[in-house]
């Protein structure tokens, strides 16, 4: 199977229904994308598929063979992603950090589609769980990234 991840083509030999998350982590060593729940509840595994924030733990790898997959490892190669990361640093968002790859990817996808989101847009798109409760800092960072 051939996948396009962060602009590079990779050949992987896995069962076609393997979740993309585990292909990224175990086959390709891209461990920035996290496993939290495996059932589309937490968002720790969020990547972009053709620009859409997608929960990779429930995405069969066969369904994304023709798509452009972007993971946190390449987030700073994207000008919007870079802005988001800078806002994350400025707002000192992460605590334990485990959810933050997914949060940054969700924010990047949002701002790529909607450069000037309203507060309602932000709360509609930023649905990932954070057990450390960094939600206020996340919202502030997204607002800031949209302004910058």
């Amino acid at each position: 199977m051939e996948l396009t991840i962060n602009g590079t083509k990779h050949r992987v030999d896995v069962e076609p229904d393997t979740p993309l998350l585990w292909v990224l982590r175990d086959e390709l060593g891209l461990t920035g994308t996290k496993y939290g729940c495996g059932v589309a509840q937490c968002g720790a595994c969020t990547v972009m598929i053709d620009g859409q924030a997608t929960r990779s733990c429930v995405t069969p790898v066969e369904s994304v063979t023709g798509a452009a997959i972007t993971t946190i490892e390449a987030v700073e190669a994207d000008p919007v992603g870079r802005k988001v990361v800078e806002a994350w640093v400025a707002h000192q968002v992460p605590q334990c950090g485990y959810c933050q790859s997914g949060q940054v990817m969700a924010a990047t996808a949002l701002l790529k589609q909607m450069p000037q989101p309203s507060d309602a847009d932000i709360s509609g798109a930023m649905l990932n769980l954070c057990r450390c409760g960094t939600y206020n800092a996340i919202a502030a960072a997204v607002r800031d990234a949209a302004r910058s």
């Binding site: 920035g32 994308t33 996290k34 334990c96 769980l129």
Partner: protein
């Protein structure tokens, strides 16, 4: 060297990769020359017995580029302790905190800074090591200056430092720390050092940016679950549904063995495991196994009864009789209750809670060629895990090298609890297959084997005088505390972790008896952020409002009045009142037309003092928490930004527990196995959080946990003010508030 522990340098040398050393300076690995004591000096130290927190070489390695590797006795899990260590040590060493690279220290006597033990918990890390860490930094600085003095042949008194350099002002000479590190390392650690005056602090007390934020925002931070060692295979497990069950028969072993990537199938104590070429394949296979379970013959396993239910346990606690073991007494509570004008009584309960840290548990075990066992696992108590792992492997602890990566959340999850972590399985599997093995628990297995915040019931009885003021308070906390469970309980002494938050309150109620009525808990119980306070302050502070209501007192004013003897608490309560724009209980109409009310609560957890106000409304039957105001007095502070972040985080977890969380057991099995059936606070339920730090100058208190305990009672009190309904059982969402005023 000391025979009882692997020295840090050796542990690292055995590393094929150095996960936590991927650093802000990067690319310098090959050039690193550590400050390390010569072998002879090491042997001497070992022979002399090591005094924790004194051997500079165990903690600090100054590299040629003058960056500093610091081995932290405390593990980073988001609470900012690595940054705090860099601030404190850097302040005295005279190195900018940003020049530090920090990793969790290996097991060893140098790091036993909490009364001869070590763990990361109890909000103790900074407050208990503050002086030691300052002296450590100052000692290293003094050694560097001495090395420069020797090299330049000038008196050390003529030298000074600027960040990262020793200066000789008279001659205009200067040397970077990195150039002096090797010579400094050969010097003895000074017995006396002078410390910086606090007025001259540049980093302590300031909002120094955290060292770990950029890596965490770009996915570069590696947690235990992300690590990999050469030649490693992956394993997944299926546990028996109840503790005390072992696998007896497997119906479809041959079929599962034929599944893709499967290498072997194993029967383990309490679980079956599949080893495979990837974790996903291992998981899929292990979950396909059809296992018959049977009672374990092992007497050392705690057995979860097949008929256990959390509801029955709650009922049993509520029905338990007796006065319990007194934890706090004053005056004559019995006589005072008899003479009281009004008597108020209530019984409260709070459920089992799961930690729900976002990183599922994992462990890597590898047997090295020299016979030693090397482990990578999330933990907040390295020596305890090392000792237990040694037992499992049949080795002495010095033959176990343990790595403690940063934690993807912990909240008390990663202490040593029986059957609650995968390292035992990783060790047994690595032995069985002769290769390094990494075990990851699925989220579902994690919910099955987490160590729970205990379920507890508290009974209160108060007497009010003719003026409606409380004069007598009797309270019994019924259940078992985690300190008693894991560190032993004296038969005649109340377990602090069961009564804290009911005992130790600051109010001047002259006649008091606070007690614990111990009842064993069949579940594996553990520490959960703020431990006993996580529920006891809810019980007490909510009952406080019941006393106020019965005596027709405003709850804020009554608190102020009963804090009359304690200026520190009074100041704090006033501070939170001011922060919220002046106390008002409500109900009142907000600008958006909603009817709202406020509740207040105080707590004294982990050496800090906290006052909390919450504002709520109802939306349908749902409680909406709009704002939470927190005034916190940790005595003195290291990093205000980190304190504010920790308060935000504690408010979120406290609110999550107050509103939603509850581990329900039926037939010996937890009902929820993932976040879909164990909801935790989602982003749209997060309130605005306003924090005021009050520095009273009292001894330094904790930061990680204290923001939590005031939240559930402040919210419950606000709900009672809004609806007239007093909710005495958590989580609040169990109570139907539909159709209530609000």
């Amino acid at each position: 060297m000391n025979a009882s522990f692997p020295l840090p340098s050796q542990a690292s040398a055995a590393d094929p990769f150095k996960p936590s050393r991927r650093s802000v300076v990067g690319g310098l690995g090959a050039l690193v020359l550590g400050v390390a004591l010569p072998q002879g000096a090491r042997a001497q130290n070992a022979a002399a017995g090591i005094k924790p927190g004194t051997r500079v070489s165990a903690f600090l390695e100054i590299r040629p580029d003058s960056t500093v590797l610091f081995r932290s006795p405390f593990i980073e899990g988001g609470q900012g302790v690595f940054t705090a260590m860099a601030q404190i040590v850097g302040e005295e060493l005279d190195v900018e905190p940003t020049r530090f690279v920090i990793e969790g220290a290996p097991p060893g006597p140098d790091y036993l800074l909490l009364g001869g033990a070590r763990f990361t918990g109890g909000s103790m890390s900074v407050r208990k090591s503050y002086d030691t860490m300052r002296r450590l930094g100052a000692s290293a600085r003094s050694m560097l200056m001495q090395a420069a003095a020797t090299q330049w042949k000038v008196p050390v008194a003529t030298l000074s430092t600027e960040p990262g350099r020793v200066l000789h002002k008279a001659s205009g000479r200067s040397l970077a720390y990195g150039a002096l590190a090797k010579a400094a390392a050969a010097l003895p650690v000074p017995t006396q050092v002078s410390l910086r005056a606090s007025a001259d602090f540049r980093w302590i007390g300031k909002s120094v940016p955290r060292l770990d934020v950029r890596d965490k925002a770009t996915g570069k931070t590696q947690y235990a679950i992300d690590l990999k060692v050469e030649g490693m295979v992956h394993a997944a497990v299926q546990h028996g549904s109840r503790l005390g069950l072992d696998p007896a028969a497997i119906a479809n072993e041959a079929e599962v063995r034929a599944m893709p990537g499967v290498q072997s199938i194993h029967r383990l104590p309490g679980a079956v495991a599949v080893v495979a070429t990837s974790w996903w394949r291992a998981r899929r296979a292990v979950e396909a196994l059809q296992v018959t379970w049977a009672a374990s013959p092992s007497a050392s396993v705690r057995v979860m009864p097949a008929d256990f239910s959390s509801e029955a346990h709650r009922a049993a606690l509520a029905a338990a009789t007796g006065e319990g073991i007194a934890a706090e007494t004053a005056g004559d509570v019995a006589a005072s209750l008899t003479g009281a004008r009004t008597v108020v009584e209530a019984t409260y309960d709070a459920p089992y809670l799961a930690h729900g840290q976002l990183e599922p548990p994992s462990a890597i075990a590898r047997f090295n060629a020299d016979g030693r066992l090397e482990l990578w696992l999330p933990n907040q108590a390295p020596e305890m895990f090392q000792a237990d792992a040694a037992k499992v492997a049949g080795l002495t602890p010095d033959k176990v090298i343990l790595h403690s990566p940063v934690l993807g959340g912990f909240f008390g999850r990663h202490f040593l609890y029986q059957a609650a972590a995968p390292y035992t399985q990783a060790i047994l599997l690595a032995k069985a297959v002769g290769r390094p093995v990494k075990v990851i628990w699925s989220r579902e297995e994690e919910f099955l084997r987490d160590a729970l915040r205990p379920l507890s019931v508290a009974r209160f009885k108060a007497g009010l005088d003719a003026d409606g003021l409380p004069v007598a308070l009797q309270a019994v906390a019924i259940g078992e505390g985690p300190v008693g469970r894991w560190f032993g309980r004296a038969a005649d002494k109340a377990d602090d972790s069961a009564v804290e938050g009911i005992a130790g309150k600051p109010y001047a109620i002259p006649h008091r008896r606070i007690a614990q009525l111990p009842v064993d808990d069949p579940a594996i119980i553990g520490f959960w952020r703020s431990v006993g306070h996580s529920m006891n302050d809810y019980f007490y502070e909510t009952f406080f409002d019941e006393m106020a209501d019965a005596g027709k007192q405003d709850p804020f004013a009554l608190r102020l009045r009963l804090l009359g003897d304690s200026p520190r608490h009074k100041t704090l309560l006033q501070a939170v009142g001011d922060l919220s724009g002046g106390w008002r209980r409500g109900p009142f109409s907000a600008a958006d037309g909603s009817r709202r009310a406020r509740g207040v609560a105080m707590a004294s957890p982990f050496g800090s003092e906290v006052a909390t106000i919450a504002e709520v409304s109802l939306n349908g039957g749902d409680i909406v928490v709009h704002d939470v105001w927190v005034a916190i007095d940790p005595g003195s502070i290291v990093n205000p930004a980190v304190i504010e972040a920790q308060v935000q985080s504690a408010v979120a977890l406290g609110l999550s527990s107050a509103l939603f969380e509850e581990v329900v057991y039926e037939n010996g099995v937890p009902r929820a196995r993932n976040y879909d059936s164990y909801p935790i606070l989602p982003p749209d339920r997060m309130p605005k959080v306003h924090v005021r730090i009050v520095e009273s100058g009292a001894p330094m208190g904790g930061i990680g946990e204290p923001g939590l305990p005031g939240v559930p009672p402040a919210v419950a009190n606000a709900v009672a003010a809004l609806t007239g309904k007093r909710i005495r059982s958590l989580p609040l969402s169990k109570t139907d508030l539909k159709g209530m005023a609000g």
